[in-house]
Symmetry: C2
Subunit: 316 residues, 2 copies
């Protein structure tokens, strides 16, 4: 089975062909044209055709196309309600791609929801049927899976973990306009902010970055932390406390078997796991404390694999 | 259709017969014998037979029996895993009642989950398919309904809203052993504590209770608040802030269409709704703020009606 997968992200788009086992047969990455959705969708179709050609199949061989996007999606109708970029509102994505490709089976979904579905089909599979998926990257997004089904909420917006309030005493401003949100205290952006603050206060810390030729951001900080730099370790542990608080809320509400973390910061999860566990143990009801904290098994391609998984799940 | 309903609570048990429309045809209330579950279950069977006799039907006319209890329940197997009272552990409730009554269709469930199912079938019905149910009483419990289905979690413990951490600066000790829980700051018990504290600090407040012949607890305080006593109003508004925080977490995670509140404190919800709304507006992502806050339509009988609703829902 060949599935077309489109992961339309904030800055980049990946188009690929994936088989029923979650193997990526080909993929191509290019910049997202956020200024003109029609033009960008047409580019996606062109790239998809190139992918089809490159593996020697025809368009008719595609079982379906899964498309995910960062925003509010009405997946039943196949409509993008609102994306994070200006002008991307109320777009009938399903009809557009049906018309352009001639393929009938098209599924669209919010990108983090797609990651969770990808995890269910191609990642931890049967290990967890009740879990939350958390993307910790520039921002923080989430998805909820219960008994193997996506929980969408009243208007398809469940999983706003990034806006759980975790810090009431010294709340930082969040891009959403509120303060004290998990995203403002534990995202990659927040970790970069902590790093820059620490560098301003401590010339020795700045020297460590220069010496190890690391960028003065969350990634550079994680490299230093993995080498045992105490200040860098402290920064990740600080973020872990806030992540632990946010995760605790989710656990008390949902009793998940696992919290699965993806996004750029997931590669530094080992720096945070102990503190997250300690924090959640203090903050979740004792009956709920047996859940696992795991890095996604889908790696960098979680959203692309998720797009393909949507097509399989929606055909059952 | 006649349904047997058993609501086995912490101090009292209600046994009744309910029809398919949620009308209570008869009911009988008695103390829960927490010291001996076998004896208590036998008493329940005796009372159920009396109920059957009193409305002039026979045991064979019962379509099924719904039983709810305050604790962890494996509803698939019909087993009470752990109740709040000593010695009530790993009890095969379904087999016991099948054997004693000869009725095959027996459903058991956690009491707050049962309330939510009752609301779905007999309360707000089709108005909400995605909602959370919150019992605010001596303690605080919760249940989650998504697309008309109960969300149970990994080990049947979803909905521990009472143990969401809402107060980090001056956290009060919770009966669960942790501190800062919603239950420790917004339950009926907490409101009684605030009332007693305020009485100790202010002789005029104490006089108001004496003058109006009200008990110096959450109920008395609500009577005074409804009469416009400023201190009493402040106490309910204080509890409302914490409720608002707890509700905000649930809303960010689940995007419910409504938060439905039952339990003793629900009758004072009008004293708290404005502050809850203000608090949630500050704390939930803007896309999620359109949810309703409602008092249960099932009143005092929410759990009993829930027990009957379980039987109907599980027969579909």
């Amino acid at each position: 089975m060949y599935i077309g997968a489109l992961d339309i992200g904030g800055t980049k788009t990946i188009v690929g062909i994936i088989d029923q086992n979650g193997s990526i047969l080909c993929k191509y990455q290019f910049a997202t044209n956020t200024y003109n959705w029609q033009q960008h969708f047409l580019s996606c179709c062109t790239v998809l055709r190139q992918c089809i050609d490159s593996i020697g199949i025809s368009c008719d061989d595609l079982y379906g196309i899964g498309i995910n996007m960062p925003g509010m999606v009405n997946s039943k109708e196949g409509i993008l309600l609102k994306a994070v970029y200006k002008g991307w509102e109320n777009i009938d994505v399903k009809s557009f791609f049906r018309c352009e490709t001639g393929i009938d089976h098209i599924v669209i979904e919010n990108d983090v929801n797609a990651c969770a579905i990808g995890e269910l089909l191609f990642g931890y599979k049967d290990a967890y049927k009740n879990f939350i998926w958390m993307t910790v990257s520039t921002g923080i997004g989430g998805a909820v899976v219960s008994e193997g089904r996506l929980i969408r909420g009243g208007w398809n917006c469940a999983g706003e973990f990034g806006h759980l309030k975790v810090e009431y005493e010294h709340p930082a401003l969040c891009p959403c306009g509120q303060s004290g949100c998990l995203e403002a205290h534990a995202s990659g952006t927040a970790i970069t902010r902590y790093t820059k603050e620490a560098i301003r206060e401590d010339p020795l810390f700045e020297e460590a970055f220069s010496f190890h030729k690391q960028p003065m951001d969350a990634i550079g900080c994680s490299v230093l932390a993995k080498q045992g730099n105490h200040k860098a370790v402290e920064i990740y542990e600080k973020a872990a406390i806030w992540l632990g608080r946010g995760i605790s809320y989710c656990v008390n509400v949902l009793n998940p078997e696992a919290v699965i973390i993806g996004g750029g910061v997931a590669s530094s999860l080992d720096l945070m796991t102990d503190v997250i566990k300690l924090t959640t143990e203090k903050n979740v009801h004792t009956t709920l404390s047996g859940f696992d904290i795991k890095v996604t098994r889908l790696g960098y391609e979680a959203a692309l694999l998720g797009a393909a998984a949507l097509v399989i799940l929606n055909s059952k």
